[in-house]
Symmetry: C2
Subunit: 282 residues, 2 copies
């Protein structure tokens, strides 16, 4: 397949989308921060199955990083990204500059309320306002019929769903499964930061999620028991997580008893690298 | 002209807008809270001059009222509103219910930053988050080419402009002049609250604005002098304003010296009725 067209100008992007519509083509948007991996590729492939035009946005959004986080060193590789995107079925890459996205005087921000507060919201208090705001901007700049997000950023998918519902944004959301390395590590652009030794220890995160799943499968319903088992397994790999949370699917309400749809979510630093992962428990 | 079609269902509204587009018609949105007067009619007429389809939304938005404000008693008169709208050139009234606009679980809100803080933002701290959020929802529900707002709510026009720019909403904004009663009182749905005696005293608001304009016309540049003259005139009618502010046009930065584009804005209670008005000084 031919490489995607890289567009940096919003007006040009709008033209491309307007031109696709009369032909009856559905337009998909896959918002990313670049440094693409097989997880992103799976989103583009899903989008291409449903839609005639797939736009992938590549923008490392400064407002979702707090001072001291890895905004500056976040991996950037537009050429490599495009090489992955063409074969996956993406025909347009929207790669705006920071100045295009946040011209001087930009101040507006979006707060989606309670679903943004726990878990990542506690560890990164300004993160989801940055995410919601940039996603809303992208939805306005690239008025697609559908947008595709990865389940690895589970709370983010809930934040975007809340915003789209509350602000009546006319876009369908698709949430695609986590893509993992053969050994279970969830695909993440930040995996590139891991040393070989850290890469090995990081496997304990997925192993803990699987252990929790097995315990639930065997009938354990006490969330505290499950959490303690997960924490013990993480400790064996010298990992002290920021959180191991067992929550109600959709609302993130903490569960004491695993009843109904539930999710276990973990955030942990391995060395200096902060990783997140999650698993549907039932 | 025939009376407008009243639509309460967002999906039906979208169908009407989608149907207008292939015919090459520009679509206008005039967001209102109903209880329409000649000011609103002027917005609809301006919209009709520019656009083939004019939609007027009528929704008394609870989230822009604070507890204790006049949400419950705010005048509502859909039948009378429609009688004004047809002849003015509006063909569709979008009049959603509160439950349609804010289904259970709605939590998202939009903060546009510094332009929402002074003046009305100080007197009504939650007001502009409510305004920005409902306007964004209306812009998504009724994806028009242009939206029309009245200059009487001057700070509101700046809030909406900031939001549209910052969130890249693909809509043109038009701000139309204040429409006044023959004696100068700015048209407002809240004028209906005034007793005859209050109605008479309320004229001092516009008179104070005009006095300020005259002083500037005569060369006065000291904002404090101008404010004091306006305050003295208000006091003659027993009006103690919430604010009399002389600010830079566009930014609302308070001015000590009237230089460059400037606006004088007043908020005052006359009896229990809170009125606002403003005038471009130069």
């Amino acid at each position: 397949m031919s490489p995607p067209e890289v567009i940096t100008d919003p007006a040009k992007l709008r033209q491309r989308i307007s031109a696709a519509r009369p032909a009856g083509k559905r337009v998909a948007l896959v918002p990313t921060m670049g440094a693409l991996h097989a997880g992103h590729v799976s989103l583009v492939e899903a989008a291409r199955r449903d839609c005639g035009v797939v736009i992938t946005s590549i923008f490392v959004n400064p407002t979702q990083f707090a001072p001291g986080e890895d905004y500056e060193r976040y991996p950037r590789n537009l050429e490599g990204d495009c090489a992955l995107l063409g074969p996956a079925g993406c025909s347009i890459v929207f790669a705006p500059s920071v100045e295009t996205m946040y011209p001087a005087g930009s101040e507006t921000s979006i707060d989606v309320g309670s679903v943004a507060r726990p878990l990542e919201g506690e560890s990164r208090p300004t993160h989801f306002a940055g995410v919601a705001t940039v996603v809303m901007k992208l939805f306005q700049l690239a008025p697609a019929d559908a947008a595709y997000f990865g389940r690895k950023d589970y709370q983010q998918t809930l934040v975007v769903e809340r915003m789209v519902r509350d602000l009546n944004v006319p876009i369908e959301l698709a949430v695609c499964p986590i893509v993992r390395e053969p050994d279970g590590l969830a695909m993440s652009s930040r995996n590139a930061y891991l040393s070989p030794e850290e890469r090995c220890r990081a496997l304990a995160i997925h192993a803990s999620l699987r252990l929790a799943e097995q315990l639930v499968g065997r009938g354990e319903r006490d969330a505290q028991q499950i959490r303690e088992a997960a924490l013990a397994l993480l400790a064996e790999s010298d990992i002290t997580p920021e959180y191991v949370a067992i929550v109600r699917e959709g609302t993130l309400e903490p569960l004491e008893v695993v009843e109904g749809p539930a999710v276990i979510a973990i955030a942990a630093r391995v060395g200096k690298t902060r990783l997140i992962d999650n698993l549907i428990l039932q």
